[in-house]
Structure formats: C-alpha cells, structure tokens
C-alpha cells in the first residue's frame, strides 16, 4: 500500500510538471488559435538561456551571490523570450493570418526546428546546470504507518508549489487585469475583439511572451531536475497527449489532464510494465489520449468542436 501511494504521489508530481509545459500550449491556443508545436523548443531555449546567463553573468560583471546571479539570469532569459515572442509575431504569425490550422501547425514546427538549431549554436550542446537551490534529497513520510516510509520528492513538492502559484497568478492575471481581459476577449472571437479596438498584434506578442514566461519557469524546474540539454525538448512531446486529454482551450483541463496522465503513466509502468517487458511509459500516455479521443474528442474540459460547412 505504501508503495502504491508512492507511485501515485510520484505520478501526481510528474503530472504537475508536464502541466507546466502544457500551460504554454493552452495559453497560445486560447489567444491566437495556433497550436504551438514549438513550445518544447521554447522551454528548452528559455532554460538554456537561463543556465548560460547564470554562468556568464558572474564572468561579465564579477558579481558574487547565487541569488543575485540567478535573478539576473532569469530577467535576462525573460528578455530573450520576449524577443523571441516579438520576432515570432513579426515574421511568422503576422504573415500567416487567416491560414488554416494545418498551416499554422507546420509553421510552428518550423519555428521549433529553428529554435533548436539556433539555441544550440548560441548556447551549446553540453548538459548545463541550473542551480536555484532546489532540495535534492528525498523525504520519507509516514514511516510509522508504512514500512520504509512513503517517498516524496522534495524538489517535486517545491515544483508543484511553484506551478500552483503560477496557475493562480495566471488566473488572477486573466480575471483582474485589463490585459488579461483583452486576452480573454481575443480568445473568444478575434474579429469582435478587433472591432472594439483591441490591438491584435500586441495581444499576440503579449500571449507569446506569457507563454515564454511559463516556458521559462517550466524550463527552470525541469532543468533543475534533469540538467539542461537538447533532449529536454522531447519532454514537451509528452505534453501533447496531455492537452488532448484536458482540452486544448482549458487551463484547468491542462492541470487535471496532467495529473491524470502522470498518475496513469506511473501506475502503468510500475504495475503493468514488468509483464510487458518494461518501457511502456513512452506510449502509454498517447494510447490513453487516443482512447479518450475516440470517446470525447474535445477532451475533458474543452469546448465542443462545431464544424460549419
């Protein structure tokens, strides 16, 4: 029983981390109707920027103090992500207005590959460290109740806390600020929003910047766990079945979908895996999403897709 709890908790934590990445997808899709295949590359790019700036800033300015360095590196990475958002809007989205979904999807695929190559050219292909002071040792709770205790990863707990804070912050942003309301208006109906004077271009830049910020936070958390390297962008591929499960247009869907997927994956690998030789984690999420899609194509919380002919 103790081990089952461990697996579930581990799955919840992992799911939370995937949700962080999926949040970026949902944000961009809500506001601009574009499915951003490049979200993984953006997470990687942001994490690389943070890791390298944290290394370079002490060399350039001679500053000591880990907290100051990390804070400056974070700000620098944020500026980089804003630039990326602005360039994407200028060069890609602005020129592809009103194209159909497939075209935009493939354009983001192109952006993903470009960011991949560009990021590695500027920042390098080695494994880089992000050290934001996350705890690394495991926690063992309830060891009176269960023999050996239930393993809880402290770092994952902190990450889950950050993710929750981020979601609450985003919800507050959308609800209570003018820009947030404008974003919601644009997500509802582009043309209506334009007709009341909301500047669409600026909104898109803002959305991609926010998604970049979310990607940066996700990148810092993942990077702190795994080290920042090219293969981090593969993590984002896992977020795809997640958004499908939760619904492309719903932020709570991203969270809940992530939790379901994380728990399902870990349970399947630990309990089903040994009977199938192991390694089923890689496709379990996708097959789960697939089965779900056949029953409820719009996902748990998504809006029903209405096709007009």
């Amino acid at each position: 029983m103790g081990f089952f709890l461990e697996t579930v908790i581990g799955g919840l934590m992992t799911g939370m981390l995937y949700s962080l990445v999926a949040l970026g997808f949902v944000l961009i899709f809500k506001a601009s109707g574009v499915f951003n295949f490049a979200q993984g590359a953006m997470v990687l790019f942001a994490a690389l920027a943070m890791a390298r700036f944290a290394e370079w800033i002490p060399q350039w300015t001679g500053l000591e103090g880990k907290f100051l360095n990390n804070a400056l590196a974070f700000v620098a990475a944020m500026v980089v992500m804003y630039l990326v958002a602005w360039l994407v809007e200028r060069l890609v989205l602005g020129k592809l207005v009103n194209q159909d979904g497939i075209t935009l999807l493939m354009a983001t695929l192109g952006i993903a590959y470009f960011l991949d190559g560009f990021g590695q050219t500027i920042f390098g292909s080695d494994i880089y460290k992000i050290d934001v002071g996350m705890p690394k040792e495991p926690l063992f709770l309830f060891d009176k109740v269960f023999p050996g205790g239930v393993l809880v990863n402290e770092e994952d707990l902190v990450a889950a806390g950050i993710a929750t804070a981020l979601v609450i912050g985003l919800a507050a942003f959308f609800q209570y600020t003018g820009t947030g309301r404008a974003l919601r208006a644009v997500a509802d109906d582009h043309q209506a929003a334009q007709s009341i004077g909301i500047p669409l271009k600026r909104i898109w830049v803002i959305v991609w910047t926010v998604a970049g910020f979310v990607g940066l936070v996700a990148g810092v958390i993942w990077g702190s766990k795994l080290g920042v390297q090219f293969s981090l962008s593969l993590v984002a591929l896992k977020a795809l079945p997640l958004v499908i499960l939760g619904g492309l247009t719903s932020v709570p869907g991203a969270i809940i979908g992530g939790l379901i997927l994380g728990v399902g994956e870990k349970l399947a690998e630990v309990y089903l895996g040994p009977h199938m030789g192991g390694g089923i984690e890689i496709w379990f999420a996708y097959v789960l999403a697939l089965v779900f899609l056949l029953i409820r194509p719009q996902g748990l919380f998504g809006e029903k897709i209405i096709d007009r002919v």
């Binding site: 581990g10 080290g227 090219f230 293969s231 895996g273 192991g278 390694g279 984690e281 890689i282």
Partner: protein, 441 residues
C-alpha cells in the same frame, strides 16, 4: 541584377565543391572521424572526439607514423545509424581511402559490419560494438580492442562478488540492470543471465527508452524491489538523469555500478556531491591527468594552439578513451608498416593485418606515454580483443579514483558464448570460419 546573384551562387558552389577536390599528397594516411557533437549524446561524444583528434594531431607533431602524416576529417552522426552510414559512405573513398573507421556507436557497428568487409576497411570498436566480434575467425574486419560489453559485465560481476566475499555469496541477491533500450544496452544481458544462472542471483531488467530522460518509474521500481546492486548501462543524458533520480529516491550510490560508458565526468559533474560513491568499471584507463601522454598533448598540441576543445578536458575519462582508441588505430598502421614497408602509406587490408598482429608490450606503451594507464595488448587471428583487463573507479564528489585491483574477465565463460554467437552469425550470413592459411595473409 539576377545575373549577378546567379553568378555569385555559381562561384560559391564552385568554391564549395573545389574544396573537396584536394588531392591526397603522396604520404598521407586518411582517418575519418565519425563523431557526434549534437543531440542527446553530445556531452559524452564531444570529449571522446576531442581526445581522438588530439591524438592524431600529437602523432603529426611527433613526425607522423615513420614520416607518414595523418589527415583526418570529422563527420557528424548524431548517434544515428543512418547518418553514420552516410558519413561512412561519404568519407570512405576520400583522400586516397579511409584507413580504418571507429563509429562510436553500437548501432552503427552493426550496420558497418556488413559494409566494411566489402570495402576492405577495418572497423575498430574499442569498448563497444558486438561482443562476439572478438572472434576474428568469423569477424575478419572487426576489432573490439581492449574491451567488449561481456568483458565489462563479467568484470563488474566479479567485483561485486569480491565485495560480497566470494562469487558464491551472490546466491539469493538481487542485481538490477538499468539499460538503454537499444542494441548497446541489451549487449550485456546474455552474459549477466549466464552469471545469474551460475551463481544464483536474481537479475532484474529495467529498460529505459532512449534518450533516457524519463526514469522516474524505473527508479520507483528500484525502490519497490530494493535490489542489492544496480548496474547502469546508459549513455549520454541517461547517465546523469539516473544519478539524479537515484539521489531523489534515496538509493545508495555506493551500490551503483556503471559500464565504462556510464562512468565519466559529464555524467557526474552536474550531480556533484550527489553522485559521491558511484562506481564504474573502466576499460583499463580512468581519468589520467598525471600521465605522460597528457603532458605531451598539453605541450605539443594545446601549447601550440592546436587543441580541439578545452584544455581542462585533457585527461578526463572520455578524452582518454578517444585518445587510446586513436592510439590503437595508429599502432595498427605502424605494425602494418613493419611488414609492408616503413614510411609508406598503408591500405585498409594492410592495416587489418597490422591490427590483427598488434604486440604492444608494456615498454612500447610506456614510451607512448601510457605508463600505469594501460596493460599490454596483443591480438591474433582468432582473438581480436587483445586484452581483457578492467578496473573499477569511484567518484568521490570531485574526481574519479581507482578503488579496485586489476580484474580480468573470465575467458572460460566468455569464450564459449563468443563462439556460439559468432557461429550463429556465420550461419545466418553463410560465412565460413577462416582457415589457418588465411590467417597468415
């Protein structure tokens, strides 16, 4: 205007292709370098490639092989088999023909094993590749010099047995193998299963899908089954991820033993103190910053500004591995020259003979700068392995130090397995074992 841009394009293309028409000088030996500096395995591929190229530069700085200079060209494979094959095809005919090829990828080794004999280019797979290719009677052109995965797995098992107080004490213990789900990771399984049957320990197989960033469930399973030891057969990002997950689930790193491709600085640098106590088997050498070879490289290559990669990397584990792999190839050419003409450029066939008749005694190795690093290597027609020694080193938080005596893989167990696997390959490909006459050529 259009004519201008068109002619500019033509000039550029001409410049590009003209570059490739450089004719080989009369006295140059061409070494293609199949390396990977991008992708999930780059952190480990880069130091290896730097060591390899630096060694070739050192040989040139010392005057070449009896006056024959070495010429080399790198090709990016990204650890992808198809790209490795493409690099091989592109470089094998260049500059007078490739002397030998070292693909640094078990997957590529399988593919090139089919092609190299037809092209008459020897394939050195020092420390990787097919374990059964040590049988030179079937695998005429493969040279898994100084180490295969069965040697590594055997050495590790022996070391663990020693730790327990004897191989018979392993009965009832549990050893988990966390491996990269690819031909590379699967290689040690037959030998470990054999040893498990012999000594009565339980072998738990835990595959990790490439590239290996997702290991949480694997380590949850480790926590559930609580094996006495964990063997890590990873590469690239998978290694550091494994150590981070081990730390996160509280598995003692002292009980972890990695293969020689999972025991280098890029794997533990990130984790730092969290990897303290992690052990790995080494293919004779470890991190050798104090060896004479390193001093020579720093003086004659990096000192002249010719170094590939950072100076701090020289002497690290994978750097040494690359350098030693290059050394074995160069010595094969030197040996071939002893028979076919000193100071002449050697063909692939001649180098193959040289690699098959390597006789590197301790004196020669010391002269090359590998005193205390390597043991004698001597190959023969039927034995393309040359040496089956290994040691175990441990990460103390800042550097690797040796924590075991020299271990030797048990030929009684490995030889029959090699013969069986080699015969199976021969039956599949309809090859016959080489005759003693053939061994003389």
């Amino acid at each position: 205007m259009k004519l201008k841009s068109l002619s500019l394009a033509v000039v550029l293309v001409a410049a590009g292709t003209a570059h490739t028409f450089v004719m080989a000088q009369a006295k140059e030996q061409f070494f293609p370098v199949l390396s990977y500096r991008t992708g999930p395995y780059a952190p480990n591929g880069i130091p290896w490639a730097n060591g390899y190229v630096d060694y070739l530069k050192l040989v040139n700085a010392r005057g070449g092989i009896n006056g024959v200079k070495l010429v080399f060209e790198e090709c990016e494979t990204g650890y992808d088999t198809a790209r490795s094959v493409e690099c091989y095809e592109r470089l094998k005919g260049k500059n007078g023909g490739a002397t030998l090829v070292q693909p640094l990828s078990t997957g590529a080794t399988f593919a090139l094993t089919e092609k190299a004999p037809g092209d008459k280019i020897p394939l050195i797979t020092a420390g990787y590749g097919r374990s059964e290719s040590q049988d030179g009677g079937i695998f005429k052109w493969n040279f898994p010099l100084i180490g295969t995965y069965w040697v590594a797995a055997d050495a590790l098992t022996q070391h663990i047995g020693k730790k327990e107080g004897g191989l018979d004490k392993l009965k009832g213990k549990k050893i988990a193998l966390i491996y990269h789900d690819s031909p590379y990771g699967k290689e040690p399984i037959p030998l470990l299963q054999q040893r498990a049957a012999m000594h009565g320990f339980e072998l738990q197989l835990l595959p990790v899908t490439a590239p290996g960033v997702e290991q949480k469930s694997t380590w949850l399973q480790v926590r559930q089954s609580r094996p006495d030891y964990v063997m890590l057969w990873g590469w690239g990002v998978m290694n550091s991820t494994a150590l981070k997950e081990a730390q996160a689930t509280g598995y003692p790193r002292e009980k972890m033993y990695g293969v020689w491709w999972a025991g280098a600085e890029p794997d533990v640098k990130d984790v730092g103190a969290g990897a303290k106590g992690y052990n790995a088997v080494t293919m004779q050498h470890g991190a050798e910053p104090n060896s004479k070879f390193v001093q020579d490289v720093l003086a004659m290559v990096h000192g002249k500004g010719q170094g590939t990669g950072a100076k701090e990397e020289v002497g690290s584990v994978l750097y040494m591995r690359g350098a030693i792999s290059a050394m074995l190839g160069v010595e094969g050419v030197r040996r071939a020259q002893e028979r076919y003409g000193k100071g002449k450029v050697m063909t692939g066939e001649q180098v193959r003979w040289g690699l098959e008749n390597l006789a590197l005694d301790q004196k020669k190795l010391d002269a090359l700068g590998f005193a205390g690093v390597m043991r004698p290597v001597s190959t023969s027609c039927v034995d393309h392995l040359g040496a089956n020694w290994a040691r175990v080193h441990t990460w103390d938080g800042a550097k690797w130090t040796f924590t075991s005596d020299w271990l030797q893989a048990d030929e009684q167990i490995i030889k029959p397995m090699v013969k069986q696997a080699a015969d199976k390959y021969a039956a599949e490909k309809k090859l016959t074992r080489r005759t003693p006459e053939d061994c003389q050529t």
